[in-house]
């Protein structure tokens, strides 16, 4: 049984550090649209707000467990150990990018660090994760697969089909439904029948007779315990679980969709931009997972304010270097495009 109260001081500090790294990385991505227009193309989706959920989940990982996120995929590889330079370089279209400039923000991948790929099409990655779990089962590797997807994505057929098959096949996979209250510009209450009825989305687990749990995704320790239980279950061969991790996406869905050469940027959060609900956004800001965890760790004596500041400083320095590196990295040659079509 996972027990977050037994996490070592080092581990807790590691968790806080990773959360800060994600936040700072995403801030730098966002700033890039202002400071270096045109450097990021297409559509970039940020994980600010999700840090506690991501880190709480991945803190339960064992060495070879796989992580399969959606297109909102910057956070996970940072925690898995992919150099932030290679991630930013990818987002900046560079040759040194983790996908050599072929994928971009929505399609990061680092299979050597247990992050096989990300799909930009809603729901499909959930099936891919179950497939990886099937491979683990057949090959008896003992791996557990973490499948991440959004509240909106749980309205795609692939989600239901996959959870049923994973349950029938007892696949070693944990389905983490990241309920950040929005699917793009749509509030979850407008498109999810459970949410509209005031029921938790984890109730969908009943359709597959598997455990369904809702957890406060702004608290990495609660996430650790809930997901850890599901991971143990999966590793023991008892099959999948559905965890609804509830948190709030702090940035808008992505940079505004424009037609070049009209510049694109991040606008205000949809709660304000679309719904005129500033109160909702302010409340979420007060509940920021990073501030809360920082206060918690200081409160229980894990570290002092000065230690936290040191971490935050080093993270800022890391990401400053990362941006410099990525800007300096060369663009791919045009004809590189002919590579990797066929295996």
């Amino acid at each position: 049984m996972p027990n977050s109260s037994q996490l070592s001081r080092d581990r807790l500090i590691w968790m806080y550090t990773q959360m800060c790294r994600i936040r700072e990385f995403e801030e730098r991505v966002k700033r890039t649209f202002v400071e270096h227009p045109g450097v990021i193309r297409g559509h970039a989706h940020l994980a600010d707000g999700a840090e506690a959920s991501i880190v709480g989940c991945l803190a339960t990982r064992q060495e070879n467990d796989l992580v399969m996120p959606s297109y909102r995929c910057h956070g996970y590889p940072l925690v898995l150990g992919t150099p932030a330079r290679a991630l930013m370089a990818e987002i900046y279209q560079r040759k040194d990018g983790v996908c050599k400039g072929f994928g971009g923000s929505m399609h990061l991948a680092d299979p050597t660090r247990h992050f096989p790929t990300a799909s930009g099409i809603i729901g499909q990655g959930i099936a891919h994760a179950a497939g990886a779990a099937y491979a683990a089962q057949v090959k008896k590797t003992g791996q557990v697969i973490y499948s991440f997807f959004g509240d909106g994505s749980s309205k795609q057929g692939a989600f239901y089909e996959t959870l049923n098959m994973a349950a029938v096949w007892k696949l070693p996979v944990v389905f983490v439904l990241e309920n950040n209250e929005y699917q793009a510009y749509t509030h979850v209450s407008l498109e999810d029948a459970n949410a509209k009825a005031g029921d938790p989305l984890s109730q969908k687990a009943k359709a597959f007779s598997i455990p369904g749990v809702t957890v406060d995704g702004t608290d990495p320790l609660k996430v650790y315990d809930a997901v850890g239980t599901a991971v143990d279950r999966a590793r023991a061969g008892e099959g999948p679980s559905l965890i609804e991790s509830k948190f709030y996406r702090m940035s808008p869905h992505g940079n505004a969709i424009t037609v070049p050469p009209v510049p694109t940027q991040f606008q205000e959060h949809e709660s304000i931009e679309v719904y005129g609900n500033k109160a909702e956004f302010e409340a979420a800001k007060k509940n920021d997972p990073i501030g809360k965890f920082r206060a918690h760790l200081i409160g229980n004596g894990t570290f002092a304010d000065a230690d936290a500041k040191k971490i935050e400083e080093s993270v800022r320095a890391e990401m400053e270097d990362v941006v410099k590196f990525a800007l300096a990295s060369p663009l791919p040659s045009p004809a590189d495009a002919l590579n990797y079509v066929w295996a």
């Binding site: 990021i40 193309r41 297409g42 559509h43 279209q93 560079r94 990018g97 996908c99 400039g101 072929f102 994928g103 971009g104 929505m106 399609h107 799909s119 930009g120 099409i121 809603i122 729901g123 499909q124 909106g152 994505s153 309205k155 795609q156 057929g157 692939a158 699917q183 793009a184 510009y185 749509t186 509030h187 407008l190 498109e191 999810d192 037609v259 070049p260 009209v262 679309v274 719904y275 663009l331 791919p332 040659s333 045009p334 004809a335 590189d336 495009a337 002919l338 079509v341």
Partner: protein, 326 residues
Amino acid sequence: MPREMMFAEAIAVAITEEMQRDANVVFYGQNMAMTDRDPFVRKFGKDRVRITPISETAELGIAVGAAMMGLRPIVELYMSEFMLVAFDEVINEAPRLRYMSGGQVKVPTVFKAGFGFAAGWAGQHSNCIYGPLMGIPGLKVAVPSSAADALGLMKSAIRDDNPVVYLHHYMLMLDKCPVPDGDYLVPFGVADIKRAGTDVTIVATAWMVKKSLAAAETLAKEGISAEVIDPRTLSPLDTKTIIESVKKTGRLVLVDQAPKHASAAIVIAGEVAEQGFKYLKAPVKMVTALDTSVPYSEPMESFVLPSEEKIISAVKSVVGARVAAD
């Protein structure tokens, strides 16, 4: 007096006018009509204008069912690839139910989606999916290249009693042009000669029309007169106008943003090889995307896609062939 209109605006105007004209027209999709302040909701109410979950199969299937029962649903799909998770509805339900029922039902619905976003959207969001839609009896496909066509084709699509896939190109959404006043409809199955010429026929769709017209401009300066034709609908396809043009020019260059074997270009090339062979004075030449997915990084993306330069050199290669033959 024609109005100046942006492409995106023209589509909205067409939908608005048709919704005003016919109470059976409904309009729904993801991430639209979020609040009561939405202009369509304000005009037409929450029954006829709705927001949906990310459930393309249900969205399209509901359109098919509603169309059979007398509504004329327009489904906003945003990016054309999102149709792929529900492709059965597009090519195996909507266009087949009338036929299988022996003509007892009809399925008037419009599946609207943007496509071809060549701006770093990478492998899964930048594609042209009209190829697979061209050979489906019972399904129509409209692909406007100007605001005027966008408006006129959308109005025709909504009034059509058959399912129509309406594809608008992202890179054209901000382009402006004059749109004729009044109830302006563009008929399906009628190609438009966007520029008249005598030396070579260029057939292109959507964004490629723009690139072809630019190429034709440059070629004109070098004394080569290119005729640029936009089929406007890929099903029905106006092969006749294309062949008439080839009869005159004897040369055919086909420009298409899709990889060659997924293109409308190769279908048209095949038709001309069969029906217009005797008019050809040179081999047909295709300018399409290279055989790769679309890469994220700009230099690679540009390398893969057709460009004005590639069109110009293709034209020169077939016009050069004349010099040899004549």
